[in-house]
Symmetry: C2
Subunit: 402 residues, 2 copies
Amino acid sequence: MEDLIVQKYGGTSVGTVEKIKRVARRIVETKNAGNKVVVVVSAMGKTTDELVDLALAINPNPPSREMDVLLATGEQVSISLLAMAIQTIGHDVVSLTGAQCGIQTSDVHKRARISGIDTARIKRELADEKIVIVAGFQGVDENRDITTLGRGGSDTSAVAIAAALEAKCCEIYTDVDGVYNADPRVVPTATKMDEVSYQEVLEMASLGAGVLHPRSVELAEKFKMPLIVRSSYNNNEGTIIKEDVKMEKVLVRGIALDENIAKISIFEVPDQPGIAFKLFSMLASANIHVDMIVQNVNRTAVNDISFTVDADELQEAVEVSQKFAFEVEAQKVAFDKGVAKLSVVGTGIVANAEIASKFFESLFELGINIQTISTSEIKISCLIDKERAKEAMIHIHKKFDM
Amino acid sequence: MEDLIVQKYGGTSVGTVEKIKRVARRIVETKNAGNKVVVVVSAMGKTTDELVDLALAINPNPPSREMDVLLATGEQVSISLLAMAIQTIGHDVVSLTGAQCGIQTSDVHKRARISGIDTARIKRELADEKIVIVAGFQGVDENRDITTLGRGGSDTSAVAIAAALEAKCCEIYTDVDGVYNADPRVVPTATKMDEVSYQEVLEMASLGAGVLHPRSVELAEKFKMPLIVRSSYNNNEGTIIKEDVKMEKVLVRGIALDENIAKISIFEVPDQPGIAFKLFSMLASANIHVDMIVQNVNRTAVNDISFTVDADELQEAVEVSQKFAFEVEAQKVAFDKGVAKLSVVGTGIVANAEIASKFFESLFELGINIQTISTSEIKISCLIDKERAKEAMIHIHKKFDM
C-alpha cells in the first residue's frame, strides 16, 4: 500500500523556470520512492504583487470578487508550468485549479474559509497513478465564483487537502531548513528543532517567529495531520510539527521576537465600571487586534491603561483611543513605537517558576527594563525596549542553553 | 424592451491600463444607451506569446492540456481588470471565465470546438442589470478541464454567446474601421464596405484578407447573427456582415492578396488511375491543406502536378511530396516560394464573364503571367509572381473602379 504525501511549495520555491524544474525533480523522486503525491503550489515569486499593482492602476479600490478572479491566475500559471516540467521528466501528471479539485469555500472574497473538499477528482487522478498538482490559495463558493483564502492561504490549502485525503503527512517546502528555536538571522547559534508541537508553533507564529501562518497550524492540529517544514534547496530532514512531542529536559522550546508592534497608553481614565470594556469593544469594532494589556490603578479615582497593537494598525488604534479619551474625559493618549515583545515558548512553561525567573534575570543582567509581562500556558512574553531586543534574544538563547 | 448587444474586444484593444479604461467607458456608454451588454475579451496584448515562451522554456513540447490551463489565465486577467475598470466608472459588472459562463467544448485541447453554452448564469447576471464580461478563447470539456479554442477563438466565443443569447448583433472591435475592399496597407485608395455578406467575407478571409477568422464568420452565418466590425478607437459605423446584402452595380466586392503561400511541383508523375488521389490523401493525412491544384497532362504517359500550400506548411508538404515521388517513381519535386494568390470576390462573380476577363486583362496590361486560375461561385483567384502582386492589386482596384 502506497503512502499518500501532500507537498506544498511556496512562491520562492517556484520563482523561476530553473526552480520549477528543480521542484519537479523532487516531486518525481518522491513519487518514484513509492508514494502517491499531491502537490500544492503558490504563485511564482512576486506574481501576486504584480497583479495587485496592475489592479490598483485601474481601480484604487478594486472589488474583492474581481480581485480574486485576477489573483487566482497566479497559481493557475504555476500549476500548469510545474505540470509541464514534470511531464518533461517523464511522469504522468495533471494540474487542477481550486475549482477543479473541489475546494469549496465561504463567499467572503480575499479571505474565504474552506468549508469542504470534494476529493473525487483528485482520487480519480491518483488512482490513474498521476502526480496531482493543485493550485493553492484558491477555491470556489457555492455560486462557483472564484475565491482566495488570504494570508497563509496556500499552506491552508495544503493542510486541508492532506486532511481530506487522509494523507500520511503534509510537507511544507520553504527557503529555510525547518523551525528554529529562535530567528537564525538574529541568533546565530539558533538551532533547528526536530520536533515541535502544534501549540508551540502556534505560539511562536503568533509571537512573530514567522514560520507558518497560525491558520494552517490550527487546521493541522484539528485533523492531527503531521506537518513537516523543510527546505526545497536540500534534503535535510526538517522539523516535524505534531501533537505528541516527546518531553525533553529543556522546557523552553523556542524564543520569539515581535518587533512589529507599538504601545498605546491612555492616561488618567476615570475609574468607572465597564470603562475598559468600552475601550476594548471600540477597538474590536474597528477590527484592531489588541495584545498585552496593563491597567495601572492609581491612588486617585483615575487609571492609566496601556496595550499593544500591530504596528500596521497603530494609526487607526490611536484614532479610536482618542475618540474614547474624548468621550470618557481621559487626560491624554500617547503611543510608543520603540517597543518589542520577546517571548519564551514551551509546553507547560508557565507552571515552571524557574523559567520565568531565569527569563527575567537575563533581562536584569543586561539592565533591560520590563514594561509589561503576559503569560499563557505555554509562553511568557515581556514588552521591552526595541533597540535592545535582539541583544536580549541572543543572551536568553545562551542562558537557556538551547 | 432592451436590446442585447454582444461586444468583443481583441488583445490590442485591452493591451494597456489606459486602453482598458477606454474600452470600459465605451461599454458603459452602450449600457447607458439602454442595452443589455455582454462583453467578450481576449488576453492583453502580447500576454499569450509571453505565456507560450514561458512554457517552452520549461518543456519544448508542452502537453496540450496544461498549455490550455496556462493560456486561459491570459483572458482571466483581462476580464477581471476590465470589470474593475467598469466598476470604477460606477456600473454593476461581473466577470465570468469560460467555465463559469457555461461554454462547453470538445476535449481537443488547443483547438476545441464549442458544443453548447449553458446561458443560465449570464442570463441571471443580465437580469440583475449587470454588465457581463466573459473570457473569450476558452471553455471547459465534459470533465470540466479547461480548453482553448485555437485561432480566431475569441471571435468564435463572441459569436457563439451572441447566438445562444439571441442577441441583436455581435460587435467585433478591432484596430481598423471595418472590412475594406482591399488591404489599405497595400491599396491606399481601398474603401471600407458598409455591408458585406457572410460568404463574401469568408472568401476574403480564406484568401488572406485577414479580417476575421473564417470560423467565427461561419458560425455567425449559421445562426444568421449580424456581425459588426468596427474600431475601438473611434465611433465610426464599421462594416455590417449579414446574410442579405443589397445588390449594387459593382459585383466585385473586394480584392484579397495571400502572399503566405508556396507552390510545389512534382514532375513526370506516371499517369496511373488514382495517382493524384494517393498524393492528396498522403498530404491530408499529414494535415496539410492544399489549395490551387493543376495537373498538366503531357503527350507522354506522365503528368506534372502542381499545387499550393500555406508557406508555414511548405517543409512538411515537400517531405510528403518527396516520399510520394519516390514511391510512384516520379522524376523530381520542386518548390517555389515566390508566388502569391490574388483574388477578386463578390456574390455571383463567376457567372459574370466580364469580370473574369477584366481581371485577366488587368494582369496582361502589367505583363504579369498567370500561373494558375481557380474559381468558386463568388471568387476568381490567380496565382502570380509574388514580387508584382501588390502592384497588380492596386491596378485591379482602380480598374474595377472600387
